[in-house]
């Protein structure tokens, strides 16, 4: 018996000793497309280079599929060492329940307050003054992507903003090209709605609704103009027979459609197709009217763990993810913007440079992941799906939207 105990003790001691040197951390994420997988491998390489082991826990499907799996694992007492989530309110309740590791000491040691730009990113990781996540990139949704082929075929100049796009849409249609490619899914239609709002109604009205949740602004004349603009835009996208966003992007790449309103991740599709910004396609942030970007994106959270060795490794990984070299290599592969303004991104392409310029000028907005709960977001997406696809009158949609804003939390 005592022999057995001895063996056990020695075994435990050995495990502890080896754990202190090299820790295996399981990291879950939903980056599974080509460019995304290349980007996440940059993290893994950097982590493995420190002598630890990155155990990749990629979950196929989008965030909608992966988040329930991640959350149920944390709730079920089988937490991974680190996980991707979008920054914002997705992990709010998990933090409140004390299931996420407090990273405040790492953040203070790394001076995150000074380096994270825009600072709103860090705010979205903060609850009651404590920091619980590491932002790793910024994705913005207010972009329109234009096909040069489509406009050349119709003998037109490539539009420089949303108004020019709408004015030339009929001529584009006459040339047999679909003016606006639109994947018929609520989240994409919601992105297009948000981008058109910023372009048509301006920033004050947008903030009134999205930040201050003021339903009277949503009922006001600025938003009436927005809903009318969207109602005419849906006619431009009426024959868009695709569902997935990348199929819609493909229509722009092949010149079957004139334009698509989509986030900056669409850039990856153009890059894979070998297209060059400025020659084959153009990108206009803020639809070329109000050059602002929202600051959605991804962040890593570290579920609380009993093992002190793992906790130490978690903190080490947190500091690594935001370190300058890793930020550069990751974001170049991902096509997203880095979370710190003090690093050299000169090798980024034209669209990314535009985005970096806007970030440097402070033209940033909080993303809807940050301002609205997932519940309100889903309801808005449902409304947009209904509005874009059917024949719902603009006034009805506006009334429903204002009601959602009134009930929003």
């Amino acid at each position: 018996m005592s022999n057995l105990m001895k063996t056990l003790f020695v075994g435990t001691a050995l495990t502890c000793a080896s754990a202190a040197q090299a820790v295996e951390l399981e990291v879950t994420h939903w980056w599974t497309s080509g460019g995304e997988a290349a980007a996440v491998s940059k993290f893994a390489e950097a982590w493995n280079a420190t002598g630890n082991t990155w155990l990749d826990g990629a979950i196929a499907g989008s965030g909608g599929t992966a988040r329930p799996i991640i959350i149920s694992r944390i709730l079920g007492g089988d937490p991974m060492a680190a996980t991707q989530l979008n920054h914002g309110r997705q992990a709010e309740e998990l933090i409140e329940a004390g299931l996420m590791l407090d990273l405040t000491d790492v953040a203070e040691a790394g001076g995150w307050k000074d380096i994270v730009n825009p600072s709103a990113l860090l705010d979205s990781c903060t609850l009651d003054g404590r920091i619980y996540c590491v932002p790793v990139n910024i994705h913005s949704a207010q972009w329109i992507w234009l096909s040069h082929d489509a406009y050349e075929n119709a003998g037109l100049d490539v539009p420089a903003n949303w108004h020019e796009f709408v004015d030339t849409a009929d001529e584009l249609k006459a040339a047999g090209t679909l003016p606006l490619a639109m994947g018929q899914q609520g989240w994409q239609q919601s992105i297009a709605f948000g981008a058109i709002t910023i372009a048509v109604a301006g920033l004050d009205a947008w903030k009134g609704v999205n930040v201050h949740k003021d339903a009277s602004v949503a009922r006001g004349p600025e938003y009436t103009a927005v809903f009318e603009a969207v109602a005419s835009a849906r006619e431009l996208a009426r024959d868009s027979n695709v569902q997935d966003w990348n199929l819609a992007t493909n229509m722009v790449i092949t010149g079957k459609a004139g334009a698509q309103i989509m986030g900056d991740w669409a850039q990856g599709e153009f890059a894979v197709a070998g297209q060059v910004e400025g020659e084959d396609y153009s990108c206009l942030p803020g639809l070329g009217l109000n050059e602002v970007l929202d600051t959605g994106g991804d962040a890593f959270y570290f579920p609380v763990n009993d093992d002190p060795a793992i906790t130490a490794a978690q903190k080490e990984l947190a500091a690594l993810l935001i370190s300058p070299e890793v930020q550069v290599s990751f974001n170049l592969a991902k096509g997203s913007l880095p979370v710190r303004g003090d690093i050299d991104m000169s090798s980024a392409n034209g669209c990314m440079q535009k985005g970096l310029g806007i970030l440097a000028n402070g033209g940033v907005l909080p993303s809807s992941d940050i301002t609205f709960s997932a519940d309100t977001q889903t309801q808005i997406e449902d409304l947009m799906a209904q509005f874009w696809t059917g024949d719902m009158p603009a006034a009805d949609a506006q009334a429903s939207y204002a009601q959602l804003i009134e009930d929003a939390d």
Binding site: R67, I71, L94, Q243, A374, D375, A385, T389
Partner: protein, 305 residues
């Protein structure tokens, strides 16, 4: 789960009810426990928490019927129910009719019967996700059926059900029928094989036509088979989810949403458990409303015997 009583047991020495078939009872305890805890317990828990304002985590913050009021005010839920009703009625009728028709054809002692049976049953071996994807491609106007027919020279041919909000449910229906009819056919075929040859001989002697024999004599005799088929089809309709996710994703817009998808998305994507529970409770209610009268008719009468 009740153990059949044995009327022929000798009345002289009355055995204690609890110890009769003791081993069988012991063996079924795990299943009974599973059924009680997982099904009944889970259902009760869900119904209870549908009266709370639970978001991502279940919390006992009571809100009364708020979740239900919101549910019945939501366009998406109403659209989902309407869609399920369309799909359900069409699927029920067409699966039964087609399944029986195919089974009757095979039962006419045709050549290569087993080959046909395999072909018809084969789609059932595929999951709904695969079925959905395959039919998404077949019905896609740019790659699928429409493109092929146009390639044959019929330029004006248009068949694009999945991208039209008015017809998308029928696009789903085609895929659902393709997948599910084979199984019903096999069940029907088994039922038809169970009919005594003498019935057919008697019908022939009486000069009743084949079709009339089927409708008037054979179908009423196959009542248990039809009930089995009905239960299988109905269960498939209520839980319709994966086919929609794979084939249309609920689109275009909200025009192919179904209740099960509403439940899943509000529970996990919207992180609003209360709302998802309220919707799943309503689904349970609809099943119960249909099942109880049927179960009463089907099993209630036998208690007398």
């Amino acid at each position: 789960m009740t153990v059949a009583s044995d009327p022929s047991a000798p009345p002289a020495k009355r055995p204690i009810r609890l110890t009769r078939n003791l081993m069988a009872k012991l063996a079924s305890i795990p299943m009974i426990l599973t059924a009680m805890v997982v099904f009944v317990g889970g259902t009760a828990w869900t119904v209870t928490y549908s009266f709370t304002g639970s978001r991502m985590l279940p919390k006992t913050k009571w809100v009364g019927f708020d979740q239900y009021e919101r549910l019945w005010d939501t366009d998406r839920w109403l659209i989902s129910i309407k869609n399920l009703a369309i799909y359900g009625v069409c699927s029920l009728v067409l699966t039964l009719v087609l399944g029986f028709f195919l089974a009757a054809c095979l039962d006419r002692k045709i050549r290569f019967e087993s080959a046909f049976r395999t072909i018809f049953l084969y789609p059932f071996a595929l999951s709904f996700v695969v079925t959905g994807l395959v039919w998404q491609w077949i019905l896609n106007p740019d790659f699928g059926l429409q493109n092929i027919v146009r390639g044959w020279g019929w330029e004006s041919f248009t068949f694009n059900p999945l991208n039209d909000p008015d017809t998308v449910m029928f696009g789903l229906l085609i895929a659902g029928l393709w997948q599910g009819t084979g199984l019903i056919m096999c069940i029907m075929l088994a039922g038809l094989r169970g009919i005594d040859e003498d019935i057919w001989k008697a019908a022939k002697v009486d000069g009743i036509s084949t079709v009339k024999t089927y409708v008037v004599v054979i179908i009423p005799m196959m009542r248990p088979v039809f009930v089995t088929a009905l239960v299988l089809i109905a269960a498939g309709i209520i839980k319709l989810y994966d086919l929609v996710v794979a084939q249309t994703g609920g689109g275009p817009g909200l025009s192919s949403e179904v209740p099960a998808k509403y439940v899943i998305e509000y529970m996990f994507r919207a992180q609003n458990l209360g709302q998802g529970f309220a919707a799943s409770t309503m689904m349970l209610c609809s099943v119960v409303i249909i099942l109880i009268p049927w179960a009463y008719l089907e099993f209630g009468g036998r208690k007398r015997g």
